[in-house]
Subunit: 776 residues, 2 copies
């Protein structure tokens, strides 16, 4: 028996969103326009009869109007919502949740309700009967199993057209409250059976992305239940049972292997529910959630790093620790609190951070005498002690590093890993006797950062120096490794290593000074040369964005907590216990064999899941290599390997497992890097004429300009390049192009002829090729 | 040449303090009393003539009076102090600094001035001429080298009697301002030559521990300089040069090996400057500072963990991570912020923490809508997500751990590592289907904690369960490993592993529930069983207190960042460069040899320091094993090993180095544990009569009582045992005896006969032997 056919697509329609929460008015206008056009103008989609009735009209007229009419209707049913909240338009569950959490009128604790519409397969001429699923946010809706249960053929996620046709709503505004006397009879409705008795308050779309109505589970249930007729029942489904009943149910319907794997592929394609190239921000959030890397947290801008992502950070920590210890750096820990006077000592520096500093003002019930800051970075917290500890040139170099979290209370839209209010990082702070020594270290560390990205995460970066405008506040110069996200066409600062010069050590600052050992008079003083450098969990976000695909996460083998997952296949109901045990034992044996040679292998022997479920599960989680073992494989003494990155399948003779698997993992690692690098390089445009810049940016490229390196020109480029007609993703803080870096390796581009090559923005003499781009 | 004779004692008298900062009035009264008694009553110490003059009288009369008169006197000299501050009596530099930092009238930044008095060796009948050293807080005063420079014989730290005799002040109130026309001619005065030109403001004792006068370096200098006469000069000393000139100077005075090592031993005995058994709190702080483990930080109650202590934490982390991962625990990271509603959900629990919670109320210049707490522990922050993630019994057990810092803004006296406002720890949080499973894990983790203490830190602990009164707020029961600090005779909670029962999972709390897989009706629900367990950097403090001696820190080899230090010896001025190189090369070669077999070895080839300086340095830092290599050793193909714990010296043939050193390190490890365990056990008193309890406690013991286990009785024991006449150390929060734990192993004591054995406190039936003691 081949159970995997029951896996099918696990699609959560509500997740397929575009983040456009700031354009609330725009959305409403758009909805109205669309509604009007469907009313007044000829339309290619035939309008069903019920479409034009009063209720659906008032629902789609505007958010406020629809909320009022729904509430009226609910009150007619003796249901009084716990709250109704208007908020910024929020398309995705994540932004929706955030919008509600920021609202003072929303309940403290709630769960989102998702409404998903599927279209079962029908004859082309037949009128479709959509399948509407109302479920709790966390419920896994497995459409295949559901279709089977309801005897509906191959339910697939409904198109936007179908939603418009039946509900006059887009998928993000869809709500169980769109079910009414008119719509209910036309569809098959399913409700998550845990809703009715849940003690939670549920957040339900007010038929728009900018209004929410809060009901109890019982209220929501009774709202739908009353619509039930003899002909048209409300189906209460135990999705948990559906999920786990899979294998048992499948025993009755064996299918051919060929057909099955096609289905799995089909299922996998919509596993994430949102296409990377269509809605990148929604895709990103979904990959993180489905891969179990992260969860949202009830303090806005803060996220939970679950083991699947934290383990990557641990691998980076281990590697980086070893490298910096070789350089003589020691780890230490400084307190998270910084007194106001110390924090604000360096003016340029604090100016860069002060709007984002979180202040503790109270302990227990007592107000503190003076507010105390939570470090946004630790330069000014550490350097008074550097001044104390460095008494002689023999105390140099002083090289400390700490692994900690810092807080920058940004009010821009947060994004997991890329922009969060608290984030994990390391910050190194070193002091040197001479500038050359400091310079060398800046570059040594930068190269370690490059290797974290390229060698561990398989993410290409370009090392270079930041422009004066973009350098670290208060430092002398900043070096950077610049990454690139092809899907958004934006650059991303991946990690930075700063030379602070003597700015923090000078007498009026922290006065970190030693006697000059080389001054024959013995009178000379040297203010120490300092560096600081940091790498954060942003690494993980960049990695996800770079490699992930529409099946979910793809992990480079070197940072994967599980590199190879071994899955028993071909176990059916009629399989004898003995056969089952043989296969399972073999899986476990192979896992042990691989572990012994250092491959992080795991045998997935969960007996409640089908192989197909497991394939999907581990694909979403990005495990680089899958090894399948079925009776036929066993007979041939082989295992079928499936690469996560390419999907390429190849049998591996068991006798060669321990040689082939490590090689294959290395191949995957280098192929991932090569692919990402080719992608980056193909989007790196050498540009010498102004008119070519914006089209290149709009074409999701980074431009290399022969640049004059003047700050006014940089401001001008940003201003002028920001006037593109391309719709902006408001998650990205900058729409105009900033300078990303001046690459150290200039040899990639046509040599600049001093005095001849001109800056394409201001026509002054060009100095060096500089990367400009839209950025995170 | 044998240079180490010049190391001598590096004593900093000001550090020899008792912490009694809260008993300000008491101290002043005491000073007055003493002064009056020396005036009015016969006294065994002969009073020198100058003692009775007006100035010294007004100085010691009371803190306020003395400050006024000093300020008047200074103004007469045209010196106007930057500030004068009255504060709580602060004996140690640490508490003094804290008192000043908490004062709004003190300058934001300052340095402490220390005043140390030595008595050079003189004939018994001669009038002593004390040596008074006025130096900056951070200056190393090496009394041996100083004595040599001034031609004063073997200066030793002056007795309290001598201070009273000359200045009518105790050592903590001593100040350069006690030098005046009367006192200056009777002493030899030395001033740190960096004071005059320093740009810092200096804090100077106002002749009491509760008042401080702030002067510039130039003002302080001129105050003393004006007292100079032709007969009596003020000596300006470059202590840095004194410290580093050692080797050069020593070249002129070769001495015999025997004599030298005696001197080193003598020097080492006072290396820490405070005797452990005399002033334990002062000793502890000094060990931490001298061993370079920790520094004070300008936010009160927070400390900097320097690499020498942080590396111990890293070793603990590595070990513990490996062990818990074996148990299926995964690491994760939850945000440091907790919303008020979530934090306060469990009432019993929050009651235990709320007075200590730090609240963020502002970000940048914006007030937050709602204050957000910094986690004091993460139960309530994590469990809403446990409720979300645990949907089925198949999601159990869920076992997460995080390494983080938590904040408990205690207003009690902080103490490094033992009680700090921010501290590092791990917190594990697990959920289980059944109570037996949870119970087993509680004990598994507790045993790991025992092994961290016993196997890594060589600190004995006693595992047991806490009384109802002492258990974790909101939990079901708490298991603990209880440590013991013999020097203070106090118990210390070393780490705890809690079973929370179903208290956090029940429906009205976080509602973490699954269907009962064993219920045939399919209707049964199980609220999960939860544990939480934590181990903090307190480990390091307990380790320091347990093993350290009057030479400083003693590190158990398994947690030492450097296990063996190799020091070249016998290099003199006349040693040829070639000979020098041969010896240094050999040291480096041995270090490499040892590293290859996994011994953390380091060759200390610093050429500016004498071997004696290095011996002292590494002894203070607690390196378990020293290997000396000199020309004679080289000739014999051996190295002289010196154990830090016992001082035992033994030659090791170089050919056997790689076998003997690892064995020796293991011996040191087990000897340290054995010694500490013997000490602990010898202080564990089986007591069955009430009257024996307080004497045992006063005798710095922990008592085992056959206890009734009733809470009222526990309160009573605490109350009644707190009425001892023993002077209390206010650093310790509890003076009465608390229950420490009910040991799992009851076999150590006379079996309790049910119904017969009575509780010695209340005469009810005894249940189990329970440890009671004063505690941290």
């Amino acid at each position: 028996m081949l159970a995997s056919r029951f896996v099918a697509g696990r699609c959560v329609g509500i997740f397929r969103n575009v983040y456009r929460s700031h354009i609330r008015t725009h959305l409403i206008t758009f909805a109205e326009k669309r509604f009007e056009s469907t009313l007044s103008a000829p339309h290619s989609v035939p309008l069903p009869q019920h479409h034009n009735n009063h209720l659906s009209r008032s629902f789609s007229r505007s958010a406020m109007a629809s909320v009022e009419s729904i509430v009226q209707q609910l009150q007619g049913l003796s249901i009084t919502p716990a709250a109704t909240v208007s908020h910024a338009a929020a398309s995705s569950p994540a932004t929706w949740r955030e919008a509600l959490e920021q609202s003072s009128s929303a309940p403290k604790s709630f769960e989102l309700i998702k409404t998903i519409v599927y279209k079962p397969k029908t004859a082309k001429t037949a009128t479709p009967v959509p399948l509407v699923v109302v479920a709790r946010e966390g419920t896994d809706v497995i459409s295949g199993a559901l279709g089977k249960k309801l005897n509906l053929k191959e339910p697939r996620l409904a198109s936007e057209d179908l939603l418009t046709e039946f509900f006059s709503l887009d998928k993000n505004s869809l709500s169980p409250l769109a079910l009414n006397e008119q719509t209910f009879p036309k569809v098959v409705t399913v409700i998550d059976n845990t809703i009715e008795s849940a003690s939670t308050i549920f957040a339900i779309r007010g038929l728009s992305t900018s209004s929410t109505i809060f009901l109890t589970g019982r209220e929501l249930f009774s709202y739908i239940k009353r619509l039930e007729t003899q002909e048209n029942a409300l189906h209460e489904i135990d999705f948990e049972a559906l999920r786990t009943d899979g294998p048992a149910a499948s025993a009755t319907t064996p299918a051919k292997k060929e057909k099955e794997s096609a289905k799995i592929e089909g299922a996998a394609q919509i596993a994430i529910g949102i296409k990377k190239e269509v809605d990148f921000a929604g895709w990103y959030t979904n990959v993180l959630l489905k891969a179990d890397m992260l969860d949202y947290y009830n303090v806005s801008g803060c996220y939970i790093l679950k083991p699947w992502s934290y383990s990557i950070w641990e691998i980076i920590q281990d590697w980086f620790n070893k490298e910096i210890k070789e350089l003589g750096v020691q780890n230490a820990y400084f307190p998270m609190f910084v007194s106001q006077s110390v924090l604000e000592k360096e003016k340029d520096h604090i100016e860069g951070f002060s709007p984002e500093v979180a202040w503790v003002t109270r302990a227990g019930k007592s107000d503190l005498e003076e507010p105390i800051a939570i470090r946004p970075t630790s330069e000014t917290a550490m350097y008074p002690y550097y001044a104390k500890w460095i008494r002689s040139h023999r105390d140099l170099p002083l090289k400390l590093n700490q692994w900690n979290s810092v807080v920058r209370w940004e009010f821009k839209n947060p994004q997991p890993f890329l922009r969060t209010r608290e984030f994990l990082w390391q910050e190194g702070h070193t002091a040197h006797l001479t500038k050359p020594e400091a310079d060398i270290e800046v570059r040594q560390i930068l190269d370690l950062y490059r290797r974290v990205y390229e060698d561990l995460l398989a993410v290409p970066v370009i090392p270079g120096v930041k422009s004066e405008k973009e350098k670290f506040a208060g430092g002398l110069y900043t070096t950077t490794v610049e990454g690139f996200i092809p899907t958004s066409g934006r650059g991303i600062q991946a990690a930075t290593s700063h030379c602070l010069g003597q700015n923090f050590s000078r007498p009026e600052m922290f006065n970190i000074v030693v006697e000059d050992p080389n001054d024959p008079t013995g009178q000379g003083k040297i203010y120490v040369w300092q560096n600081s450098w940091g790498l954060s969990t942003r690494t993980i976000g960049v990695m996800v964005m770079t490699h992930g695909d529409n099946q979910g996460l793809i992990l480079p083998p070197r940072v994967a907590a599980i590199q190879a997952v071994i899955i028993p296949c071909g176990i059916a109901a009629k399989t004898s216990d003995e056969q089952r045990k043989t296969i399972n034992d073999k899986c476990e044996e192979l896992a042990q064999q691989l572990k012994k040679i250092g491959v992080k292998a795991k045998a997935d022997l969960r007996d409640v899941h089908t192989p197909g479920f497991k394939f999907n599960d581990w694909e979403q989680k990005g495990v680089p290599l899958r090894l399948e073992i079925g009776p036929a494989d066993l007979a041939k003494q082989q295992t079928l390997s499936v690469r996560r990155d390419t999907g390429i399948k190849a049998p591996i003779p068991l006798a060669q497992l321990t040689t082939v698997v490590p090689q294959l993992l290395e191949t995957i690692q280098s192929d991932l890097f090569k692919k990402a690098q080719d992608n980056y390089y193909s989007r790196l445009k050498e540009i010498t004429k102004w008119d070519d810049i914006v089209p290149a940016l709009d074409n999701k490229c980074v431009v290399a300009l022969p640049w004059c390196e003047e700050e006014a020109c940089e401001d001008d480029i940003k201003e002028r390049s920001g006037q593109s007609s391309e719709p902006q993703d408001e998650r990205a803080p900058s729409a105009g192009a900033k300078s990303l870096c001046i690459p150290f390796d200039q040899s990639r581009w046509t040599p600049i002829v001093p005095g001849q090559t001109k800056c394409p923005a201001c026509s002054k003499d060009a100095k060096r090729w500089t990367l400009f781009g839209r950025s995170y």
